[in-house]
Symmetry: D2
Subunit: 224 residues, 4 copies
């Protein structure tokens, strides 16, 4: 599985990302509310550019299966996730106009523009690998937090967030994304002993950088 092979190449960055203080504090219900609100605002901006990146995946797909899958995801992100995010944020006292007026933080902009550039300079596989820390990482974070003894659901103001990413629907979405990654890799010439491919160093560099930039996103969350 390509995703596992990529993680195995940068275990330190990966652990730093999926066990970041931001998500651990959130799971323990100890994250300052100001941090969470800051995160919600940035996440709104993030969603829009993340959807643009998946739209680029549609542009770069040739297999009908990939076209359909990414198209459904782009629509889900913009026409389901964005409205849900607005509703959820409203319960945290954040209006749509406040979210829309959020100046994009540097750490936020950096990740999505890096992903978009990987997509533009590379092929569909480079793009999906750059997206993987987000597309697949959030599901792992949700799963691991649920198994973490420090995690507290009862009375945790962020419980809904946790249950979203640990939930079946999100886990299944991530499984579909992982399958796509392997399918596209095979089609783009990476299969079998992936680490021996001439592309491997570049793919690892993309994955490592994207993971590092995700850590930067959590850091930003802790520093409103």
């Amino acid at each position: 599985m390509l995703f596992e092979a990529l993680k195995a190449e940068c275990p330190q960055e990966w652990e730093g990302y999926v066990t970041h203080p931001f998500v651990r504090q959130l799971a323990a219900g100890r994250l300052p509310e100001s941090c969470f609100r800051h995160y919600l605002k940035q996440d709104y901006v993030f969603l829009l550019h993340y959807a643009r990146a998946y739209a680029l995946a549609v542009v770069k797909s040739d297999a009908v299966e990939d076209l359909k899958q990414s198209a459904a995801l782009v629509d889900l992100l913009l026409n389901t996730e964005v409205p849900l995010h607005l509703k959820f944020s409203a319960r945290w006292g954040l209006s749509e106009s406040e979210l829309a007026a959020t100046p994009e933080a540097d750490a936020n902009r950096l990740y999505t523009r890096y992903v978009l550039d990987r997509g533009m300079s590379g092929d569909l596989l480079d793009l999906l690998v750059a997206l993987a820390p987000c597309a697949l990482g959030y599901a792992e974070i949700g799963r691991r937090l649920m198994a973490d003894p420090d995690t507290r659901l009862e009375g945790n103001p962020y419980r809904e967030w946790l249950e979203l990413y640990a939930g079946t629907e999100f886990q299944e979405g991530a499984a579909v994304a992982a399958t796509q990654l392997d399918r596209v890799a095979a089609r783009r010439g990476i299969e079998g002993e992936v680490t021996r491919s001439g592309r491997w160093p570049d793919l690892v560099a993309t994955f490592r950088t994207a993971t590092r930039l995700e850590i930067g996103f959590w850091e930003m969350g802790l520093n409103p």
Copy 2:
């Protein structure tokens, strides 16, 4: 309305496109079946690249409204229109594998790659203008054919095609696309007396070329 202003600049090409023998023969029920089957096969390939072009519109959008609208359209094209096209084609004796194996005709490839390049070299407005002959023209064709005395519904083997493009749903979709065109034009600095903008010659050239290439698509339909 930008669309009307564009058509007014190339009335000959526009009439040649929307009153092309291919659609008139189809409406009169006189189009050879081999032509229609050829068209169905090419239209399948066309749909995939047309969806890619709208995905590029998502990549190039910044307004949330544009992101949502184009995302819904990309999903509609790939996850609703493509399956419908397969079902419809099956009734004409064309299997999915036959459609998938269709070699893309030059006239087909030319239009979508031209549109994609206009999108890549220009901005969202250039892209939408290149898409307009298809996005808005089919609705006009449907409407005009329905009002044409030569059109015959009773016993016409292509009746379903006619009713699709003349139907309310399709007409409304085109109206939404026309509104988006004006909205994006305003945002991209083209409003009021559009023909006096420094961009006008380029926009007209794009629209004229795209219309010409649509004529080429109908020509291809007549020559399997």
Copy 3:
């Protein structure tokens, strides 16, 4: 060598391209002048878009060597070849304004936009493979025509054209392009038994289509 492996997959298309009546008539000095003038006009438009495609190769490069090589080529095409083309065309009675006013022929537009789209949807290797029939094929055409008993230099009005493409400088440029193709292929995971890579079918399809479109370009030359 990737180029040889690609040609071996579509020998019929390749022969059809490099031994096309257009170039054989040209080499024999029997090509109607109207065809050659038509070709010169279209070739001017072609050069501009061909340079855009190599600029896309710069956008898509990461290795410094590739960045430099493609950058030099883009500059050569636009700031050396274009002025030379104007000078040469002037001797055939074609002014710069006439060349600039040339409506791009469909067969011309089709090839460059196809190449640009392969570059946008794929990676640097897909782009270079789509460019190969032109970047490498012209040198082969020049070489083969020089060895062809039907070729006539003495009194041939197109002698300069022949000597350009058969000339050392052009041959060396093609050799550099072939080397780059292999270098990029290795970096993008295609080396050793290239035909066994999961990417091979796509690369062959791109090369075959691009070659077919080049034949279309010669056809266009014969039909002003």
Copy 4:
């Protein structure tokens, strides 16, 4: 002049950029050498992506003049500036392999990927406006530092840097870029009272963000 109108919209950011402590310390000869070496290493990486952004300008140009101008610049950056940068850096004890191994700093990556994305999502004008703080700002910085009483040439280890950007060649290059900006603006529908165009808010937002990201680049220089 578009450039002046853009600066007038964000005077605070612009002053913060062109009079940043990094360049003032450099001009006064008081910049720590470790900062300058750090800057040199990052600037090497920057040059490569900056050249990619100008290559995207070639991809997005249609006027022959724009194609030629940007092509010459891409070649200059990669085949003249990069070798000069290597030579210059060698005198500061930095080898080519050290420069090539430099991990790209976040602030560095952020600016170029933002510019590339503006180019991809917008048109040539959006791209040139995103490039303007660099393409035009360095010349202004050079000019202003030369006129600054705190600037010291004698014995200043960074004298060569100052003289490069204040020098005639560089000033002329910036003047050419400013002229192109106005030419492209007119062609893209922005002329006369530019601030009344529907595009103006977006152009200003792009310029302001790009300027802010340039400040981030100087900040990075101060914090190796």
